[in-house]
């Protein structure tokens, strides 16, 4: 776990104290003296058709600059926002999946600040009456159950995007603004400071992302920023219950970046505290290339937001019937699904967790089992060869040429002993993209296993006769020599024999 340490050495942050320090504590040493207190704020774009307050598309990626705007999301004078019902529903769905309460009354507020990506000069958000409160998420890290409180899940609008002219930021003379993203529905999930290690923070994010993707409200893309995370982190003495001065870390666009940035901050803050220095309450940005966080001094004044109720939006009054209807529409959540797969199909906890990591895989597993494939075989194929091919081709099984039905038919050919495992792997590789009926291909090419006992015995005898050296080695006690003989039979059958049957026959023939 020298990540944070190595990163720190290479940081070159510009903080003079980092270069003159003589204390070079590692992450582990710092964590022996100090307890990290971490809380995460996650922003997730909602997968609606239209924006939060107007009819422009919520799917802006790839659109030409400023082609996805209208007077409402441009913030032109005299326009009125009208909230998107589905965005409200998706937020409530998320909140329920995170065990939140849904107050009957909520409202929107204006958060006022000037920044060029915010055309109105304020963001419509929720301040004192959010859509939901008091939830939690539980998960397991290194065998230990962690419960992280969810302070609130509320709804707001996304900003536009800024690009900086010129390659080097400091030399840029101007920046350019694209407002295609402005007004896209954005859900904010504020977590309690209940996390104590970077690994817990990472697992919280993995689980949270998984839930949002499962319930169909977010596409979980950290790289493109549809799922983003900011972290608040402070250190305190073990056993203390108060909170230290917190630093907000931004610009982390992968799970790994979150992990590394938190490790870096723990070491940075730990060394300062060890030297008797105080931590400045500030916002720092993670710079991937430097492996370091850097102070963002430009946003010093940003925290005086002067929230006030949004006069253009009537309040929300969500009845129990509304909430019940949304609750009834919630699909099975990943944790429930994993538990059910263990219970109903006897999967191990590990297999169940792996299979349910992506909803598509879990669906494929259930479809295979429903088609008559034994559970363990279905799990192994999906986690092994199919996962590899999906990764390499970037096409998931349901969209592949072979598809679910094709895979089911292929795996059943193995299970019934019609073909052996290596033939099946070759066929999978060949048919994954191209498609085709595996049973028909096996028939046409005569790929079926040689199951005729007499034929196999003849081949085994021939191989024994042709390989006196290997036979002598095996009889002399060299167990590996048997593999050479098995290989000979497999070669003679072009891989179509059942290796276990061949091995058994050879042992029988060569028995003293």
């Amino acid at each position: 776990m020298a990540h944070g340490d190595a990163a720190l050495a290479a940081g070159g942050d510009g903080d003079a104290v980092m270069t003159v320090t003589s204390a070079v504590s590692t992450l582990d040493q710092v964590m022996q003296r100090w307890e990290p207190v971490i809380g995460l704020e996650v922003h997730g774009q909602l997968l609606t058709q239209s924006k939060m307050f107007c009819g422009c598309s919520a799917d802006y990626i790839g659109s030409p600059p400023n082609s996805n705007t209208c007077p409402v999301c441009l913030g032109l004078p005299g326009v009125l926002p009208v909230m998107n019902r589905v965005a409200v529903e998706y937020t409530v769905r998320s909140a329920l999946a995170l065990n939140c309460e849904i107050p009957e009354h909520s409202k929107f507020d204006r958060k006022n600040y000037f920044y060029p990506d915010l055309p109105k000069g304020y963001q419509i958000s929720q301040w004192d009456m959010p859509l939901s409160l008091n939830g939690h998420l539980t998960f397991t890290v290194d065998g230990e159950e962690v419960r992280c409180g969810i302070t609130r899940v509320h709804l707001e609008e996304d900003t536009g995007t800024l690009q900086h002219a010129g390659d080097i930021l400091q030399q840029a003379r101007s920046s350019v603004v694209d407002l295609n993203r402005a007004g896209v529905p954005l859900m904010e999930i504020v977590g309690e400071p209940d996390l104590r290690t970077p690994a817990q923070a990472r697992e919280y994010l993995v689980r949270l992302r998984q839930i949002l993707v499962y319930i169909g409200v977010n596409d979980g893309n950290l790289e493109q920023g549809s799922f983003r995370c900011d972290a608040n982190i402070s250190l305190r003495k073990h056993g203390d219950t108060g909170l230290g001065v917190k630093v907000e870390v931004k610009n982390m666009n992968s799970f790994r970046a979150v992990h590394r940035a938190l490790e870096y901050e723990i070491v940075r803050q730990g060394r300062l505290l060890d030297q008797g220095q105080t931590i400045a309450q500030e916002t720092r940005g993670w710079v991937e290339a430097k492996g370091a966080t850097i102070s963002q001094r430009s946003k010093e004044y940003a925290h005086d937001y002067r929230y006030f109720p949004e006069p253009d939006l009537p309040p929300l009054h969500l009845s129990a019937a509304f909430v019940d209807r949304v609750r009834a529409g919630l699909p099975e959540l990943p944790q429930q699904l994993a538990e059910r797969l263990q219970r109903e199909h006897g999967l191990s906890a590990y297999d169940a967790a792996t299979i349910t990591a992506e909803r598509e895989d879990a669906r494929a597993f259930e479809a295979l089992v429903a088609a008559g494939v034994p559970a363990k075989a279905a799990a192994n194929w999906l986690m092994g060869e199919v996962a590899r091919l999906a990764r390499e081709t970037r096409i998931p099984l349901p969209g592949s040429g072979l598809g679910l039905d094709g895979l089911a038919s292929l795996v059943k050919l193995v299970e019934t002993g019609t073909i052996n495992g290596s033939t099946a792997k070759e066929l999978l590789e060949e048919l994954y993209l191209a498609g085709g009926d595996p049973a028909a291909v096996v028939r046409e090419r005569g790929l079926g296993q040689v199951s005729d006992q007499a034929e196999l015995e003849r081949l085994v005898d021939a191989v024994i006769a042709e390989n006196p050296a290997a036979v002598a080695d095996f009889r002399g006690g060299k167990e590996q020599a048997l593999q050479r003989l098995v290989g000979g039979v497999m070669k003679a059958t072009r891989g179509r024999a059942d290796a276990r049957v061949v091995t058994g026959l050879l042992r029988e023939r060569l028995a003293p």
Partner: protein, 95 residues
């Protein structure tokens, strides 16, 4: 209650207003009068009135999630103080 000059300059800074010393004093007095008026309103007994941000009576004024027309890029950029190709151009922002 009396508003301090530095409260006025703080609010002016948040609103990106550059005020001369004279203006700071003029607005300080005007804002003071406004706050004094609000102070009077504060004295009304509202203990029997439910707190609300709106009195229009509307709730759940939402629309269905349907896409509509966007503006052509030329129109969207028509009032841009500065533009560069199809973007709004602003002073360099250092994040």
């Amino acid at each position: 209650m009396t508003l301090a000059r530095d409260q006025v300059t703080h609010v002016a800074m948040l609103a990106r207003l550059g005020l001369s010393d004279e203006e700071v004093e003029r607005y300080r007095q005007q804002l003071d009068a406004i706050l004094a008026h609000v102070d009077r309103l504060q004295q009304v007994d509202t203990s029997q009135v439910a707190e609300t941000a709106q009195i229009g009576g509307l709730v759940n004024a939402w629309r269905e999630d349907v896409r509509g027309e966007c503006l052509p890029v030329e129109k969207a950029l028509a009032n841009a103080p500065k533009r560069r190709r199809d973007h709004f151009e602003v002073g360099a922002i250092q994040e």
